[in-house]
Protein backbone atom coordinates (compact mmCIF):
# COMPACT_ATOMS: atom_id res chain seq x y z
CA UNK A 1 0.00 0.00 0.00
CA UNK A 2 2.84 2.33 0.95
CA UNK A 3 4.42 1.52 -2.41
CA UNK A 4 1.43 3.10 -4.19
CA UNK A 5 0.65 6.06 -1.91
CA UNK A 6 4.17 7.57 -1.77
CA UNK A 7 4.52 8.06 -5.57
CA UNK A 8 0.90 9.22 -5.64
CA UNK A 9 1.66 11.80 -2.95
CA UNK A 10 4.76 12.96 -4.81
CA UNK A 11 2.76 13.27 -8.06
CA UNK A 12 -0.03 15.08 -6.22
CA UNK A 13 2.36 17.61 -4.68
CA UNK A 14 4.18 18.05 -8.01
CA UNK A 15 0.93 18.67 -9.90
CA UNK A 16 -0.29 21.16 -7.28
CA UNK A 17 3.06 23.00 -7.37
CA UNK A 18 3.00 23.14 -11.19
CA UNK A 19 -0.64 24.29 -11.18
CA UNK A 20 0.16 26.95 -8.59
CA UNK A 21 3.11 28.11 -10.72
CA UNK A 22 0.94 28.31 -13.83
CA UNK A 23 -1.79 30.19 -11.93
CA UNK A 24 0.81 32.53 -10.40
CA UNK A 25 2.36 33.38 -13.77
CA UNK A 26 -1.13 33.88 -15.23
CA UNK A 27 -2.17 36.24 -12.43
CA UNK A 28 1.13 38.12 -12.65
CA UNK A 29 0.86 38.57 -16.43
CA UNK A 30 -2.80 39.61 -16.32
CA UNK A 31 -2.08 42.07 -13.47
CA UNK A 32 0.63 43.62 -15.65
CA UNK A 33 -1.72 43.83 -18.63
CA UNK A 34 -4.46 45.32 -16.41
CA UNK A 35 -2.07 47.97 -15.11
CA UNK A 36 -1.04 48.88 -18.65
CA UNK A 37 -4.69 48.98 -19.75
CA UNK A 38 -5.57 51.26 -16.85
CA UNK A 39 -2.69 53.62 -17.67
CA UNK A 40 -3.61 53.61 -21.34
CA UNK A 41 -7.24 54.41 -20.50
CA UNK A 42 -6.14 57.31 -18.30
CA UNK A 43 -3.85 58.60 -21.06
CA UNK A 44 -6.56 58.38 -23.73
CA UNK A 45 -9.09 60.10 -21.45
CA UNK A 46 -6.54 62.84 -20.74
CA UNK A 47 -5.85 63.29 -24.45
CA UNK A 48 -9.57 63.58 -25.16
CA UNK A 49 -9.91 66.18 -22.41
CA UNK A 50 -7.03 68.23 -23.83
CA UNK A 51 -7.86 70.89 -26.37
CA UNK A 52 -5.97 74.03 -27.27
CA UNK A 53 -6.71 76.86 -29.66
CA UNK A 54 -4.36 79.43 -31.14
CA UNK A 55 -6.23 82.71 -30.76
CA UNK A 56 -3.70 85.05 -32.37
CA UNK A 57 -4.64 86.69 -35.63
CA UNK A 58 -2.82 85.45 -38.70
CA UNK A 59 -1.26 88.80 -39.32
CA UNK A 60 2.37 89.56 -39.92
CA UNK A 61 2.64 91.09 -36.44
CA UNK A 62 2.82 87.64 -34.83
CA UNK A 63 6.40 87.49 -36.09
CA UNK A 64 8.88 90.15 -35.03
CA UNK A 65 11.64 90.25 -37.62
CA UNK A 66 13.79 92.46 -35.35
CA UNK A 67 14.10 89.90 -32.59
CA UNK A 68 13.37 86.86 -34.81
CA UNK A 69 10.62 85.89 -32.43
CA UNK A 70 7.19 84.45 -33.08
CA UNK A 71 4.57 85.23 -30.43
CA UNK A 72 1.36 83.26 -30.25
CA UNK A 73 -1.49 83.33 -27.76
CA UNK A 74 -2.87 79.90 -27.01
CA UNK A 75 -6.13 79.31 -25.17
CA UNK A 76 -6.87 76.17 -23.20
CA UNK A 77 -10.27 75.14 -24.54
CA UNK A 78 -10.13 71.67 -23.00
CA UNK A 79 -11.20 70.50 -19.59
CA UNK A 80 -7.91 69.94 -17.82
CA UNK A 81 -5.11 72.07 -16.46
CA UNK A 82 -2.00 71.80 -18.60
CA UNK A 83 1.46 72.56 -17.16
CA UNK A 84 2.51 75.91 -18.64
CA UNK A 85 6.10 74.93 -19.33
CA UNK A 86 7.91 74.65 -22.63
CA UNK A 87 8.24 70.87 -22.14
CA UNK A 88 4.45 70.61 -22.62
CA UNK A 89 4.75 72.04 -26.12
CA UNK A 90 6.18 70.51 -29.24
CA UNK A 91 6.63 73.36 -31.67
CA UNK A 92 7.34 72.79 -35.34
CA UNK A 93 7.83 75.88 -37.51
CA UNK A 94 8.09 75.27 -41.26
CA UNK A 95 8.72 71.55 -40.70
CA UNK A 96 11.57 72.18 -38.26
CA UNK A 97 11.37 71.24 -34.61
CA UNK A 98 12.10 74.23 -32.38
CA UNK A 99 13.52 74.09 -28.89
CA UNK A 100 13.84 77.81 -28.21
CA UNK A 101 10.32 78.04 -26.77
CA UNK A 102 9.15 79.94 -23.72
CA UNK A 103 5.65 79.80 -22.25
CA UNK A 104 4.13 82.47 -20.00
CA UNK A 105 0.66 82.63 -18.48
CA UNK A 106 -0.83 86.00 -19.38
CA UNK A 107 -4.32 85.88 -17.89
CA UNK A 108 -3.16 86.47 -14.32
CA UNK A 109 -3.70 82.90 -13.09
CA UNK A 110 -1.05 80.77 -11.44
CA UNK A 111 -1.79 77.78 -13.68
CA UNK A 112 -2.93 77.23 -17.24
CA UNK A 113 -6.43 76.22 -16.25
CA UNK A 114 -9.28 75.57 -18.72
CA UNK A 115 -10.16 78.80 -20.60
CA UNK A 116 -6.81 80.33 -19.61
CA UNK A 117 -4.42 81.93 -22.07
CA UNK A 118 -0.65 81.53 -22.39
CA UNK A 119 1.84 83.34 -24.53
CA UNK A 120 4.15 81.06 -26.50
CA UNK A 121 7.34 82.66 -27.76
CA UNK A 122 9.48 80.86 -30.29
CA UNK A 123 12.87 82.50 -30.61
CA UNK A 124 15.82 82.02 -32.93
CA UNK A 125 13.73 81.98 -36.07
CA UNK A 126 14.85 83.43 -39.34
CA UNK A 127 11.73 83.61 -41.45
CA UNK A 128 11.67 85.25 -44.85
CA UNK A 129 8.70 86.93 -46.48
CA UNK A 130 5.88 84.61 -47.39
CA UNK A 131 3.62 82.00 -45.90
CA UNK A 132 4.64 80.00 -42.86
CA UNK A 133 3.20 77.21 -40.83
CA UNK A 134 3.42 76.50 -37.10
CA UNK A 135 2.38 73.19 -35.60
CA UNK A 136 1.79 73.02 -31.87
CA UNK A 137 1.33 69.69 -30.14
CA UNK A 138 0.23 69.45 -26.51
CA UNK A 139 -0.67 66.08 -24.94
CA UNK A 140 -1.78 64.58 -28.23
CA UNK A 141 -3.77 67.63 -29.34
CA UNK A 142 -2.35 69.27 -32.43
CA UNK A 143 -3.01 72.73 -33.71
CA UNK A 144 -1.81 74.24 -36.96
CA UNK A 145 -1.45 77.98 -37.37
CA UNK A 146 -0.62 79.61 -40.70
CA UNK A 147 0.57 83.16 -41.09
CA UNK A 148 2.23 85.46 -43.57
CA UNK A 149 5.26 87.64 -43.04
CA UNK A 150 5.85 90.74 -45.07
CA UNK A 151 9.10 92.21 -46.15
Amino acid sequence: MADVSVPSLILFIASIVIAAGVAGVLIDTVTGISGALDDRGADVAENIRTDIEVISDSESSVYDAGSDTLTLYVKNTGRRTIPAVNESFDVIVDAQYRTNVSVTIVDGSAEWTPHGVVEVRVGGLNLGAGDHRVRLAVSGDEETFRFTTEQ
Binding site: L37, V44, Y73, D107
Partner: protein, 147 residues
Protein backbone atom coordinates in the same frame (compact mmCIF):
# COMPACT_ATOMS: atom_id res chain seq x y z
CA UNK B 1 -3.61 10.59 -9.45
CA UNK B 2 -7.28 11.53 -9.33
CA UNK B 3 -6.77 13.97 -6.45
CA UNK B 4 -3.77 15.48 -8.22
CA UNK B 5 -5.76 16.26 -11.36
CA UNK B 6 -8.74 17.74 -9.56
CA UNK B 7 -6.54 19.66 -7.09
CA UNK B 8 -4.42 21.23 -9.83
CA UNK B 9 -7.52 21.98 -11.91
CA UNK B 10 -8.99 23.81 -8.94
CA UNK B 11 -5.79 25.84 -8.44
CA UNK B 12 -5.59 26.78 -12.14
CA UNK B 13 -9.30 27.63 -12.17
CA UNK B 14 -8.81 29.88 -9.13
CA UNK B 15 -5.93 31.57 -10.92
CA UNK B 16 -8.04 32.15 -14.04
CA UNK B 17 -10.86 33.53 -11.89
CA UNK B 18 -8.60 36.02 -10.09
CA UNK B 19 -6.91 37.03 -13.36
CA UNK B 20 -10.20 37.60 -15.20
CA UNK B 21 -11.51 39.60 -12.23
CA UNK B 22 -8.48 41.89 -12.31
CA UNK B 23 -8.66 42.25 -16.09
CA UNK B 24 -12.37 43.02 -16.06
CA UNK B 25 -11.97 45.69 -13.36
CA UNK B 26 -9.19 47.40 -15.28
CA UNK B 27 -10.97 47.15 -18.66
CA UNK B 28 -14.30 48.40 -17.29
CA UNK B 29 -12.65 51.29 -15.40
CA UNK B 30 -10.65 52.27 -18.43
CA UNK B 31 -13.62 52.09 -20.80
CA UNK B 32 -15.74 54.15 -18.40
CA UNK B 33 -13.10 56.86 -18.13
CA UNK B 34 -12.73 57.09 -21.92
CA UNK B 35 -16.48 57.06 -22.41
CA UNK B 36 -16.94 59.86 -19.84
CA UNK B 37 -14.28 61.93 -21.59
CA UNK B 38 -16.05 61.34 -24.93
CA UNK B 39 -19.39 62.36 -23.43
CA UNK B 40 -17.91 65.56 -22.01
CA UNK B 41 -16.30 66.29 -25.39
CA UNK B 42 -19.63 65.84 -27.16
CA UNK B 43 -21.27 68.23 -24.69
CA UNK B 44 -18.50 70.73 -25.30
CA UNK B 45 -18.89 70.36 -29.06
CA UNK B 46 -22.62 70.96 -28.83
CA UNK B 47 -22.02 74.08 -26.72
CA UNK B 48 -19.49 75.28 -29.26
CA UNK B 49 -21.90 74.74 -32.14
CA UNK B 50 -24.55 76.70 -30.26
CA UNK B 51 -22.18 79.59 -29.63
CA UNK B 52 -22.18 82.64 -31.87
CA UNK B 53 -20.62 85.89 -30.77
CA UNK B 54 -20.26 89.14 -32.64
CA UNK B 55 -17.94 92.03 -31.92
CA UNK B 56 -20.69 94.48 -32.71
CA UNK B 57 -19.16 97.80 -31.77
CA UNK B 58 -15.66 99.02 -31.06
CA UNK B 59 -15.38 102.63 -29.91
CA UNK B 60 -12.19 104.46 -29.01
CA UNK B 61 -12.49 107.56 -26.86
CA UNK B 62 -9.79 110.02 -27.94
CA UNK B 63 -10.02 112.20 -24.84
CA UNK B 64 -9.72 109.46 -22.24
CA UNK B 65 -7.78 106.88 -24.26
CA UNK B 66 -10.37 104.26 -23.42
CA UNK B 67 -11.55 101.52 -25.71
CA UNK B 68 -15.04 100.08 -25.40
CA UNK B 69 -15.68 96.76 -27.09
CA UNK B 70 -19.29 95.61 -27.26
CA UNK B 71 -19.81 91.94 -27.98
CA UNK B 72 -23.20 90.32 -28.41
CA UNK B 73 -24.01 86.72 -27.59
CA UNK B 74 -26.05 85.68 -30.62
CA UNK B 75 -26.00 81.98 -29.85
CA UNK B 76 -27.94 79.93 -27.34
CA UNK B 77 -25.09 79.03 -24.97
CA UNK B 78 -24.62 80.96 -21.76
CA UNK B 79 -20.99 82.05 -21.67
CA UNK B 80 -18.68 83.14 -18.90
CA UNK B 81 -17.35 86.71 -18.80
CA UNK B 82 -14.25 85.63 -16.87
CA UNK B 83 -13.38 83.01 -19.50
CA UNK B 84 -13.70 85.41 -22.42
CA UNK B 85 -10.40 86.71 -23.78
CA UNK B 86 -9.76 90.00 -25.50
CA UNK B 87 -6.98 90.71 -27.99
CA UNK B 88 -6.31 94.30 -29.03
CA UNK B 89 -3.97 94.67 -32.00
CA UNK B 90 -3.06 91.01 -31.56
CA UNK B 91 -1.94 91.60 -27.95
CA UNK B 92 -3.70 89.87 -25.09
CA UNK B 93 -5.14 92.46 -22.70
CA UNK B 94 -6.81 92.17 -19.32
CA UNK B 95 -9.83 94.48 -19.39
CA UNK B 96 -10.20 97.21 -16.78
CA UNK B 97 -13.85 96.42 -16.46
CA UNK B 98 -16.63 94.35 -17.93
CA UNK B 99 -20.35 95.02 -18.06
CA UNK B 100 -23.17 92.69 -19.06
CA UNK B 101 -26.30 94.73 -19.77
CA UNK B 102 -25.32 97.23 -17.07
CA UNK B 103 -24.18 94.68 -14.48
CA UNK B 104 -20.47 95.01 -13.66
CA UNK B 105 -20.19 92.14 -11.19
CA UNK B 106 -21.77 89.25 -13.07
CA UNK B 107 -19.92 86.41 -14.76
CA UNK B 108 -23.00 85.20 -16.65
CA UNK B 109 -23.19 86.30 -20.24
CA UNK B 110 -26.53 84.95 -21.39
CA UNK B 111 -27.85 84.75 -24.97
CA UNK B 112 -28.90 88.10 -26.45
CA UNK B 113 -26.95 89.99 -23.80
CA UNK B 114 -24.30 92.55 -24.62
CA UNK B 115 -20.92 92.32 -22.98
CA UNK B 116 -18.85 95.50 -22.89
CA UNK B 117 -15.11 95.43 -22.27
CA UNK B 118 -13.44 98.64 -21.13
CA UNK B 119 -9.70 98.90 -21.72
CA UNK B 120 -7.22 101.75 -21.42
CA UNK B 121 -5.18 101.43 -24.58
CA UNK B 122 -3.73 104.94 -24.95
CA UNK B 123 -3.72 104.73 -28.75
CA UNK B 124 -6.41 103.86 -31.25
CA UNK B 125 -6.10 100.20 -32.16
CA UNK B 126 -6.68 98.76 -35.62
CA UNK B 127 -8.25 95.46 -34.76
CA UNK B 128 -9.96 93.74 -31.88
CA UNK B 129 -10.61 90.05 -31.37
CA UNK B 130 -12.82 88.48 -28.74
CA UNK B 131 -12.57 84.77 -27.92
CA UNK B 132 -15.22 83.02 -25.84
CA UNK B 133 -14.19 80.40 -23.29
CA UNK B 134 -14.86 77.54 -25.69
CA UNK B 135 -12.69 79.01 -28.46
CA UNK B 136 -15.38 80.63 -30.61
CA UNK B 137 -14.01 83.97 -31.79
CA UNK B 138 -15.19 87.22 -33.33
CA UNK B 139 -13.09 90.08 -34.63
CA UNK B 140 -13.70 93.65 -35.66
CA UNK B 141 -11.42 95.96 -37.63
CA UNK B 142 -13.78 98.94 -37.77
CA UNK B 143 -12.83 101.06 -34.80
CA UNK B 144 -15.00 104.13 -34.36
CA UNK B 145 -13.59 107.27 -32.70
CA UNK B 146 -15.29 109.66 -30.34
CA UNK B 147 -13.92 112.75 -28.65
Amino acid sequence: MGFGVSGSTAVVFLGVLIASGTLYTAAAGSAERVSEAHDAESEELLDRRNTVIEAAEVVYDNSSGTLNVTVTNNGTTTLSVEDTSLLVDNEYVLPNGTTVDGDTATDVWAPDQRLVFTVDTGTKPDRVKVVAGNGVAASNTTVAEVN
